[in-house]
């Protein structure tokens, strides 16, 4: 699974930056085509949902998904799936 921010919906409130326990969301610096500074993703493969959602078959943490007032955060299937090494900091 891959974490994506839908930039056509995001309004740049940075609530995901506040709540993500892994610090995956970082405040953006550049305006996008709608004039909004959307957050950027810092190594999104660390996200627990990206790594383990297929294994558990359900939504795991998902706090950013839940708190996003603009329904902009979602996970999409990655195809083809490529296994890669993930380093998780605790």
């Amino acid at each position: 699974m891959k974490l994506v921010i839908d930039e056509s919906r995001c309004k740049g409130c940075n609530l995901c930056v506040l709540v993500c326990p892994y610090g995956i969301f970082r405040e953006g610096t550049e305006l996008n085509s709608r004039g909004i500074v959307a957050p950027v993703l810092d190594r999104p493969e660390r996200c627990t949902n990206c790594r383990l959602q297929a294994l558990y078959g359900r939504m795991l943490c998902g706090v950013c998904h839940m708190i996003c007032p603009d329904q902009a955060i979602s996970w999409v299937e990655e195809k083809p799936f490529e296994p890669h090494r993930v380093e998780v900091e605790f």
Binding site: S8, R9, K11, G12, C13, N14, L15, V17, L18, V19, V63, H65, M66, I67, C68, P69, D70, Q71, A72, S74
Partner: protein, 262 residues
Amino acid sequence: MIAPDWFRGDRLPHIYCTGCGNGTIINCTLAAVEEMGWKRDETVFVSGIGCSSRAPGYILTDSLHTTHGRALAFATGVKMARPEFNVVVFTGDGDLAAIGGNHFIHACRRNVDMTVVCMNNHIYGMTGGQGSPTTPPGAISSTTPYGASEPAFDLAELAVAAGANYVARWTSYHVKELTKAITVGMQTPGLAFIEARTQCPTNYGRHNKLRTVPAMIEHLRSHAILVAKRDRLVAEGEPIPEGAFTVGELVRRNQPAMGVRR
């Protein structure tokens, strides 16, 4: 996006300001609706007037956008005419507490079987930030430029006193707990009242030194104390911190309800 088949994707992005908590409350409510497994044909969303009451416009079910403060009266009518429907009322603090206060206490007294989600942002957000009955003392709004001098309404305690079967209060920061509270409220027969304190950075935070969205969320988070902690502080005789509000399940009881599906 939570519950993608319940959202009207063509209406998004919605009109709420950057960082408005109402979108979060819609997410939580739809997650609870999805958990309940309700059918779209048997669910009705009712709302009054205000920012919060725009919410049913983004949900793909039958909905009523009614006159100011009268959402509960219309919802009572829906429930009496078609008791098999699941009724959810979205309302704001100005809608529910100010102009619809009488409808609110009587809906609680009658214990009509529906779920009321109140998005309490402490202000009349849509009309320009006038003080509402829930504006905390000392808060600056466009009608209280020297700070609100009146005590604020505690809507959850009011619902407890008026006789609602399930009353809970959470904030838009506590998304998981809020979803759980709404689910329990939907399962409980009788009126379930869930007060969700939300942030309004545009019209409330801007005048009260909480200009950014994270600052408002942090304010909500740090001023929320659990009901159990409040009870412990009261039992130990310690003072409750100033400006704090209780969060959690305030009451769950089984009084006779009206309009319950047989």
